[in-house]
């Protein structure tokens, strides 16, 4: 009798626990289902570099048709992680503003954004993996 009672009470508990475990893992999944590269671009980059990736003449360089974007992955990751400033020329136009460091973004987020900008607006270059971002982050900010 006592055993039966235990089973009756324990079984639903186990079921509930099992369900809640599933729910838990679901919510973890939701958290781990991050914004896509294009959504992150809108949130963190679009204000300056614009929706069409064209930048702003005289202020912020274009990402579309910019060989720095489709060139060396390491160099690109370095710019995003540690920022850059000073005068640069992109497609024969001068730019001289500050790109703030975006190191507060995760490796995965930066990889997503950069894969997005390397394969949009006519750009074509290999995706960037989170491990590549981690590698550059570990090397630290290059000495000026």
């Amino acid at each position: 009798m006592k055993r039966k009672v235990i089973i009756i009470f324990v079984a639903p508990l186990l079921l509930i626990a099992g369900y809640s475990f599933r729910f838990n893992s679901d919510s973890v999944l939701i958290q781990e289902n991050p914004l896509s590269g294009s959504q992150l671009y809108i949130k963190y980059c679009q204000t300056c570099h614009q929706a069409d990736g064209g930048g702003v003449r005289g202020m912020f360089p274009p990402l579309a048709g910019n060989s720095k974007i489709t060139g060396s992955a390491d160099e690109l990751v370095r710019i995003v992680l540690f920022g850059m400033q000073g005068s640069i020329i992109v497609n024969e136009r001068d730019y001289n503003q500050v790109m703030p460091p975006q190191g507060y973004l995760s490796d995965k987020q930066i990889a997503g954004i950069l894969s997005h900008v390397r394969n949009n607006w006519g750009n074509k270059a290999p995706d960037i993996k989170p491990e590549e971002v981690a590698k550059i982050r570990k090397l630290g900010k290059p000495k000026e």
């Binding site: 809108i42 949130k43 963190y44 679009q46 204000t47 300056c48 614009q50 929706a51 069409d52 064209g54 930048g55 702003v56 003449r57 005289g58 202020m59 912020f60 400033q85 000073g86 136009r93 001068d94 001289n96 503003q97 500050v98 703030p100 460091p101 975006q102 507060y104």
Partner: protein
């Protein structure tokens, strides 16, 4: 042969008639284009294109003899200033000459000198009135400014009494520990206020004055005022400030996209000695009609905190329109209501995304007794050439500089294609 006195009078008469015709012909022959060079203007106004493809135009000034000087933001044919002269009187420039070794933004004429500025200094060179390109050697008037990578244009105003007022913009958006980075706090007190984000006053004729030595720290707490002008009616300095950026991007919990597009206001200030206007601690909310504590300094989009100490604007414009030049109209050509009123060139926004961009027009604000006497109105529009501007690059032209000609015409410069328009008014 009769003595000269017999035909002197008829001769003079003929001369007067001929010269009268010449003068009349000169002003009648202005080559106004049917489409006003792409601009839309109030009734009775029309425009002609003075010149095109001059380079990236910034501020502009017209000398008493009609010669035009335009500062350029990047070297064009190796030079940073372009001078233009209309020889045949049709309004279009016939002689176009480039000079000046550095890029420029600020440019003005006072006391027979052409003043111009780059990122590091303000210079002047004498103008003879005959030569289009100044023949003399330029002399540095104000110098010793710290290098900075944003808001670096040293635009200026001259008061006609020998003083020079130089805008030194803030080297950041909001004086954060890490500039333009979400979550980074504002440095308190902001050390950038020592050498930046204000107006410095100099003697207009004394060479090599250092910002921190001979320069007088005239006013503070102005983020960046590319647009500044002296008002002769009350002898005061007026500026229009570029308000801070990215409220919504960095504080999405406090500001919606729409609020971030509209806030903060671009503020119109009367600047007097010792004034403080609030940057970086405060910004102006044109809907609440008060200065609000910046979120980097603990603000929640409502609290006013220490902002009662900041001087209020005389007028507030929608956010991010980028007021890049200010001019008080002193001419006689335009109708009376324009006299002593303010023209403002709104270069146009870049950071209202995801909303469409705004600005890209020249505004007029009527004035009485040194204060706005009515709402801002659109004076010249159509620069962008498109109805909806998603990105600044969609705009074909962007109004950048304003100047008044000796006949009371207004000249507008463009930063994108290097066009100059001349706007005239004709009584019906």
């Amino acid at each position: 042969m009769k003595p000269i006195k017999y035909y002197l009078f008829p001769l003079i008469l003929v001369c007067v008639i001929i010269s009268g015709f010449c003068i009349r012909n000169k002003s009648d022959q202005l080559s106004i284009t049917a489409d006003n060079g792409g601009l839309t203007l109030p009734d009775g106004f029309s425009a002609l294109i003075v010149a095109d493809k001059l380079g990236s135009g910034r501020h502009i000034v017209v000398n008493g003899n009609g010669d035009i000087y335009l500062a350029l933001h990047s070297l064009h044919k190796g030079s940073g200033i372009v001078a233009l002269r209309d020889v045949d009187g049709d309004g279009r420039a016939d002689s176009i000459r480039y000079f000046g070794k550095t890029i420029s933004t600020g440019i003005d004429i006072s006391g027979g000198y052409l003043y111009y500025s780059n990122f590091d200094e303000v210079l002047r060179v004498p103008l003879s009135g005959k030569e289009l390109v100044p023949a003399g050697e330029p002399v540095v008037i104000a110098t010793g400014f710290e290098a900075q990578n944003q808001h670096q244009d040293k635009t200026f105003a001259l008061d006609g009494s020998g003083n020079l007022y130089v805008n030194v913009g803030a080297p950041s958006n909001a004086c954060q520990e890490v500039d333009r980075t979400p979550g980074s706090k504002g440095i308190d007190p902001c050390p950038q206020l020592d050498r930046h984000a204000g107006i410095w006053k100099f003697a207009g004729d004394k060479p090599n004055q250092g910002q921190m030595t001979e320069g007088h720290h005239y006013a503070s707490g102005i983020r960046n005022s590319i647009a500044l002008a002296w008002n002769n009616t009350n002898n005061k300095l007026y500026v229009v400030q570029h308000g801070r950026d990215q409220l919504g991007q960095f504080y999405p919990n406090l500001y919606t996209d729409q609020e971030s597009a509209e806030l903060p206001a671009e503020e119109f200030f009367i600047v007097e000695d010792g004034d403080f206007f609030g940057w970086p601690y405060c910004y102006y909310d044109q809907f609440k009609k008060q200065k609000i504590l910046a979120p980097e300094y603990g603000g929640d989009a409502k609290a006013t905190g220490r902002c009662d100490k900041a001087k209020s604007p005389i007028m507030a414009f929608p956010g991010h329109l980028a007021p890049n030049d200010l001019m008080f109209y002193t001419g006689n050509m335009f109708p009376d209501r324009y006299r002593n009123g303010a023209f403002i060139a709104f270069h146009g926004s870049w950071n209202r995304s995801p909303m469409e961009q705004k600005g890209y027009f020249v505004a007029f604000v009527p004035f009485e007794n040194g204060l706005p006497s009515g709402e801002m109105e659109t004076f010249a529009d159509g620069f962008a050439g498109v109805k909806v501007i998603k990105s600044p690059n969609d705009a074909k032209y962007r109004p950048m500089g304003l100047a008044q000609g000796p006949d009371g015409s207004i000249y507008v410069s463009d930063s994108e294609e290097g066009r100059i328009w001349r706007i005239i008014y004709k009584k019906k």
